[in-house]
């Protein structure tokens, strides 16, 4: 067995983790405001194809990332309008977004089938640092979006717990009536962070497309990463810094089957290896549950409940 494959797997898991970090952070901001957007998978998929088409048409990866992120935000805005303005059932609205996003992405993706993006996002060069054994490829072998994702995760943590808007965001998810009584607009805060969340999810989806997949595979482009991101938020107890850790862990289980396949290690059938990340997520989710234990985990108390000012 090649010793390098573990290093490569680790390096690649961090790459997958980038998508997860961005998508989970997006979900986290949304959920911290009290909005449960289950449509992450659909948002990611739509962003991915938009990024692909934009990059393909313009030849610019960066334009692809920007367009993809904006499309993500627009998709999330649909959810925000339905759940905040129209007070729709947030769960059904999220599911509708998944179905709508999947159909839309596949529809838009028709001309993209069989094409590949000519340029992909390349890892940054750190010169000799990247050549350090083991650490080199893992720490210094990533592209700028990965470093950006890590940066955003750390900044998000500071934002949530060390700033005034962060305080207001946390309060909105926990106790919207109190925020309302302070004269802050619950609706505006929720729409804003659902939108920002969509931006991050969109960036995650776009990056996945342009740096990872580089070819459009319809719905299997994201292949449930959006759902794993949602579980990751629970796993991280709604704390941004813990998302990094969880994302790397999930990234590893996601990458493992590919590495093993590439190395032609076939102790376990590949179909079972493909189940691994989903089963791992499920087990993590169950392990974190306990009766009435939502609050112990730090779930926003008003998560998923529309806010209606109590006017008799």
């Amino acid at each position: 067995m090649n010793d390098n494959i573990w290093i490569l797997t680790s390096a690649d898991s961090i790459a997958i983790a980038t998508t997860l970090i961005l998508a989970a952070l997006g979900a986290l901001f949304t959920e911290r405001s009290g909005v449960l957007n289950l449509g992450i998978e659909g948002v990611m998929l739509t962003s991915a194809i938009s990024a692909f088409l934009a990059a393909d048409a313009s030849g610019s990866i960066w334009l692809g990332l920007i367009i993809g992120s904006i499309v993500g935000a627009i998709m999330a805005a649909i959810h925000a309008v339905l759940s905040v303005v129209f007070r729709a059932n947030q769960i059904v609205a999220g599911l509708a977004l998944v179905i709508f996003g999947t159909g839309l992405a596949n529809f838009l993706g028709k001309p993209a089938e069989g094409k590949t993006v000519t340029t992909v996002i390349l890892p940054l060069s750190f010169g000799p640092l990247s050549d350090i054994p083991v650490i080199g490829p893992i720490v210094f072998g990533q592209d700028i979006v990965t470093y950006f994702a890590l940066f955003i995760a750390i900044v998000s943590s500071l934002f949530l717990f060390r700033t005034r808007p962060g305080l207001e965001l946390r309060a909105t998810g926990d106790d919207p009536a109190t925020v309302d009584a302070q004269g802050l607009s619950v609706a505006y805060i929720r729409i804003r962070y659902t939108f920002i969340g969509g931006l991050l999810v969109g960036l995650g989806g776009s990056w996945l497309m342009l740096a990872q997949s580089a070819a459009w595979h319809q719905a299997s482009t994201t292949n449930g990463l959006g759902w794993i991101a949602l579980a990751l938020v629970v796993f991280a107890g709604w704390r941004p810094n813990r998302i990094i850790f969880g994302a790397v862990l999930f990234g590893f289980t996601l990458q493992l089957p590919f590495t093993l396949q590439a190395e032609q290690i076939t102790i376990i059938p590949s179909a079972f290896m493909q189940m691994l990340p989903y089963l791992a997520t499920l087990i993590a989710l169950i392990a974190l549950s306990r009766p009435g234990g939502r609050n112990l985990l730090g779930a926003p108390k008003a998560l998923g409940t529309p806010f209606v000012r109590d006017e008799r």
Partner: protein, 520 residues
Amino acid sequence: MNDTSHEVAQGSHHLGGVAPTALSAHNIVKRFPGVLANDNVDFDVRAGEVHTLLGENGAGKSTLAAILCGLYQPDSGYLLRNGKPMHLSSPRAGLQHGIAMVHQHFRLVDRFTVSENVILGSRDLGFRLNRKEINEQVAAVAESFGLPIDPNAVVGELSVGQRQRVEIVKALYQGAEILLLDEPTAVLVPAEVEKLFDNVHSMTKAGKSIVFISHKLGEVVEISDRVTVLRNGRVTGHVSGKGTTDTRELARLMVGRDIELNAQRATHPIGHEVLQIRNLSLSINEVEVLSDVSFNIHAGEMVGIAGVAGNGQRELADTIAGLISPASGSITISGAMTTDRGPIQAREVGLAYVPEDRLGMGLVPSMSILDNLLLTRDRKVIVDRTSIRPEASRLIDQFEIKANGPDHLARKLSGGNAQKVLLARELSGGRSATKLLVVCSPTRGLDVGAIETVRSLLNDARSAGQAILLISEDLDEVMSLADRILVLYRGAVVHETPGATASLSTVGAAMAGLLENGGV
């Protein structure tokens, strides 16, 4: 228009030597679907005074307060601040004019610390929060008004009185000149009420105006410089001058007629033992909620449990009703052990339970009256609605429930009618004839008429020989109804006294935990 209204505002209460009017409301009208909550109401408060809004539940005082602080906008009428017209589009606008409301249900985030709660919504702070600086600021504001509080304490872990203090500190921190206190004493024990009144005095001395909202006559007379009485959305009278106020007159203005909520106790011999509780202890999340509680109730007897909210009353009721399993101890209803057997077994030996939470626990809001009557009965495999329909109609008539018949949805009932449906079901027996009735806060939030009805229903049940456990945070209610009073403090019975000879001060002291070693 502004000029004349200015004059009216100044002229109406301008007596020699008093402070200028800080805030006034004129011809306020506010309508909710089906209710005229404020009907042409005038109100004003001067700097450095306590002006009380007195009225029964539903009289419109909370609505007026909500308009004064910007939470609601009036349908017509206008507000003046220091004689200048203002429009409050939100509570934030109210704050900008120095007006803040301390809500009855605290608007605090449980998971936040005291200082995080105090600064929430404050616009003067920058983007970054400097915890140390903020803690110092908050502590300074608190101390300057004699309201000591730990800025780092987590609000969810504070007592009710302390939380109220946080609310007040928050209003002061945000620069409030006029504080609206909505039923501030409803949740406090007598000792805490005194502390609150001290704080109110130190605030008025510093020139703050207090609008005090209450329906309790005694305390109103004690604290107020002036009183405005509301009834059915209209002002029915103004009374000024501290100490000179006639409570009887206030009561008449408030209720609209002379009423006597007289004590009425068992007039017939008390029968055999129906409920026996022995050494009941209970812990929830490793916190002791009930500790070694023992008492009994006889047929035709009403035992009242007094205590400040959160001292184990609700858990006691739930445990007796079979909803919670105790850690140790036993419950016997009419000779049958029901400990740990669940609610259905308890009901089969004669338990009936009216929980504090009417709509949502006692009644299913989206179901009809008919289906709600079935909630605690044996429903068979295929629910038989036809045979219970006549009984439902009969109960609606008998209990004078205002509804369009048995298919009326529970959530469309008024508070009083919902409570009547609940009592109708529980008193009429389900799985067996009712022998023991457990009632929690049976009159909370009801209007005067409904309160009278509910209390007389309880009295009738007692006269009919049912054993009743009355759990209420309304001390007056317990004092005037119960044959025997137990005080629950931190999950333990700390005081027991016959209702007829109970003294308010002793019971109050027990509720505050000043009689830890047991009274009688």
